[in-house]
Symmetry: C2
Subunit: 323 residues, 2 copies
């Protein structure tokens, strides 16, 4: 992470450690500490802190809002991991794996409620404004997760529906993180809308990059198995775009690739068809489209440009990652 | 239900029908409408409406607060039914049974968020006050559910721990329902505390009555199988009290009863030992103790006694039920 962003990350790490959940019942609260301690890039809470500072308010004032976002994110990870039947999260056992499924359901619920408690630590007016965007976003994230699950069993998913799904599941929470920081920072409604849009567009670009990296990352630098989405026949932007652009012969090849059981063969086949169809370039072009939109939102923001630096740094950091 | 309470019930039924969840994704929102349509006594939202009116404010003002409580209650039912592996709720398939477990997890999450949205429909000050008691109670309900699950695998559960569990799992939500109505109604802090305590003590009495009815209800009037708790070896007040008061011979009989597989034999055995130990009378005495406490809280409430009538009616209605 860029040096200029380090102070925010450090502040979040210290603040996360300071969260004092009740100690009992152990099996309700221990999983919350466990998943928070697994770490991560803390992108969302950092966005909240930065957005607060952008509007001339010291970023520490946004502590509770940023922690609420981080707790919400981790609540959604606990429940998503159950739904996805995922054994590992950041290389460690998921909550339902380490404890059991009932504990994962309930401690996830409890964590969502803890997020709401943190939002309460502001004046009634600020809390009320924060809750408006937080509630709306929380519903949207659930909608995105439901669409993602619905897509698994659909024969055909249109690119526009896919983009709407990743907007809901991933991107709006980045927008919300920024808007909440902006609210604490005292931003005008217009500026709030601009940072929200910046985060949302950046989030879509970020997710498209995720889809691209999954197949084209350097295995030495990539945290997980390269080609994981291909191996699980996941309907990512790459696969959907390939189906959309394929002629009938290529569609036949894609179907063969889907049924292929040999992992190396399967990935090789995907790469061959995708190369024929220029899928990587098309995905990068779509990603850049959203990244450009985000930069436009940032340019439109009515604050001294020198104040925008950390947001620019974070956007560049996110878009230059290799894992 | 008493005639005097009918107007509240009718208002809740109409209000529940009027809730307009988004229509998509269908599998996220349809289960919410489904479980709300299963009905129930609507005790909690009625408490909210009454508490508002007690303080001289028209009960319709408490609509959103009462619906938030009803949604929260139904969210907890959806998730509890997964954890308890329950196939039926009010004689109909549970959400995880009718759809699937993932949909039940996610639509439960979404329903909790919808509850928070309803709380947002008040002024910042009122919302902030409502959120304080709602957040605290929501955490406590999760803690109660966790304790209930923990108890299943414990060899010994003390009566005091059991009472604390039912206080958290069931009773505090009745207190919260009343306090939220009182907040909307403009009650003083002292009056808020009194209605809260009234609801909480009534809730404990209500749950103890549940334990008693499970074994001693008239099967013709009882909605479920009489003796269900005995058949599943559930650690209710009756069973825990029996273990506490039993001499070594009686403890031996209780252990035999626990291992007994024949349903009729098992229930007969439980009734015999419980009769020897006067368990029913002891449970009723404990229940009345909490009911008396609730009535004291009501007497202490500083409003014109004529205004207390609906609360008295509801308390009597709850304690006179036979199912």
């Amino acid at each position: 992470m860029e040096n200029s962003l380090h102070k925010y990350l450090q502040f979040i790490e210290v603040s996360v450690k300071e969260i004092a959940f009740p100690t009992k019942p152990v099996s309700l609260y221990q999983p919350m500490t466990y998943i928070l301690d697994l770490g991560g890039k803390r992108v969302r809470p950092i966005l909240t802190l930065i957005a607060c500072e952008v509007f001339g308010t010291e970023f520490q004032r946004a502590k509770n809002a940023s922690l609420a976002i981080e707790l919400f994110h981790n609540f959604s990870l606990i429940h998503d991991d159950i739904m996805d039947n995922a054994p590992l999260r950041r290389g460690k056992p998921t909550v339902h794996q380490k404890w059991n499924q009932n504990i994962a359901i309930l401690s996830g619920d409890g964590m969502l409620i803890e997020a709401y408690k943190l939002l309460h630590n502001y004046s009634p007016e600020i809390s009320h404004s924060l809750a408006a965007v937080f509630n709306k976003t929380a519903s949207e994230v659930c909608e995105g997760q439901q669409l993602d699950m619905d897509f698994e069993t659909l024969n055909q998913v249109f690119i526009t529906d896919y983009l709407e799904m990743i907007r809901l599941k991933t991107a709006v929470l980045l927008g919300c993180s920024l808007q909440m920081g902006a609210i604490v920072g005292g931003a005008s409604k217009e500026n709030q809308d601009d940072v929200y849009a910046f985060g949302m567009n950046l989030g879509i670009a970020f997710q498209l990059q995720d889809d691209i990296l999954d197949l084209y990352a350097d295995q030495a630098k990539f945290g997980k198995q390269v080609g994981g989405d291909i191996l699980s026949n996941k309907k990512t932007y790459l696969l959907l775009k390939a189906f959309e652009d394929a002629n009938s012969d290529q569609k036949e090849m894609l179907s063969q690739m889907i049924s292929e059981k040999n992992p190396d063969q399967k990935i090789k086949l995907a790469k061959t068809i995708f190369a024929e169809l220029n899928i990587r370039e098309k995905a990068e072009s779509k990603m850049n489209e959203y990244y450009e939109l985000a930069l436009k939102n940032l340019a439109h923001l009515k604050v001294d440009s020198s104040h925008k630096k950390p947001l620019q740094d974070l956007a560049e950091f996110l878009m230059s990652r290799q894992n």
